[in-house]
Symmetry: C2
Subunit: 97 residues, 2 copies
DNA sequence: CGGTCATTTCGACCGTCATCGAATGATGAC
DNA sequence: GTCATCATTCGATGACGGTCGAAATGACCG
C-alpha cells in the first residue's frame, strides 16, 4: 500500500472516460462513503437504474480498475481501489496544475 | 473573484466529459506547457487533426471553462484557466480520496 | 427436484459526439 | 478591389455507448 501506482496512458484515459458518466461517478462515491464493502443492492437506492444498466456500469468501473469485486454466493459487493484512485488524482494534478 | 472557484455539479460533469477525450486532453496539456498564450496553429503540430475538428474541440474546452481565448486579428490564442483547473482537481481529490 | 431471488448476458434502440469536406466569414497584404 | 490565409460554421456520416426488456445463469432453500 505504500507504493504509488503508475498509470499507463491507456489506463489513464479509460479512467477519465469511466468517471465522466454521472451515474458511475455517483456509484463510485457511494462505494467510497462506506467503511465496509458495499452490496450491489445498495446501489439501487442511491441511483435509479435498471439491474441490467447497473451491472453494465459496475463492469466498466471494474474494467477501469477503480473498484474491487467480492462475490459471496449470489451476492456481490464492491470496495474502492484506493491506490488507483490516488494515482489518478495524482496524475491529473501533476498534469493540470 | 476569490482564489478558489467552486464548481456546480453541471460544471464538474461537463469538465469531466471534456477532459475524457484524448485529443482535447493533449491540447490542454499543450496550452499548459507554454508560459505565453498558445496560438491556434501550434496545436496542429502536436495533434494531427483537421481545422474543423480542432475548432470544435477548442469550443468545447472554452465551454467547459478550461481555457481563455484571445483574438488578435485573424489569429486566435489560448491560455489555461488556472482557477477552474485547480478547482476541478481539488473537487476530484476531495471526492475520491 | 421446483421455485425464488440476485446478477448477468443478449439484443436492440436511440441519443450523443468525434470527424471531416466544403462553404463561409474575417482579416491582412499587395 | 483581389487574393491568400486563418478560423469558424454547416451538414453529413459513422462510431461509440447508455439504456432497458427479456432471457439466461447461478445460488440458496425447502
Amino acid at each position: 500500500m505504500a507504493t504509488t501506482s503508475t498509470l499507463t496512458e491507456d489506463q489513464f484515459l479509460l479512467i477519465a472516460k469511466t468517471l465522466a458518466d454521472p451515474r458511475r461517478y455517483a456509484i463510485l462515491r457511494q462505494i467510497l462513503e462506506s467503511e465496509t464493502a458495499t452490496p450491489c443492492s445498495a446501489m439501487r437506492d442511491c441511483v435509479e437504474v435498471s439491474p441490467a444498466t447497473l451491472s453494465h456500469h459496475m463492469k466498466e468501473l471494474e474494467a477501469a480498475g477503480l473498484i474491487h469485486v467480492q462475490r459471496n454466493g449470489k451476492f456481490v459487493s464492491y470496495t474502492p481501489a484506493a491506490e488507483i484512485l490516488k494515482a489518478y488524482v495524482h496524475r491529473l494534478s501533476s498534469d493540470l496544475t
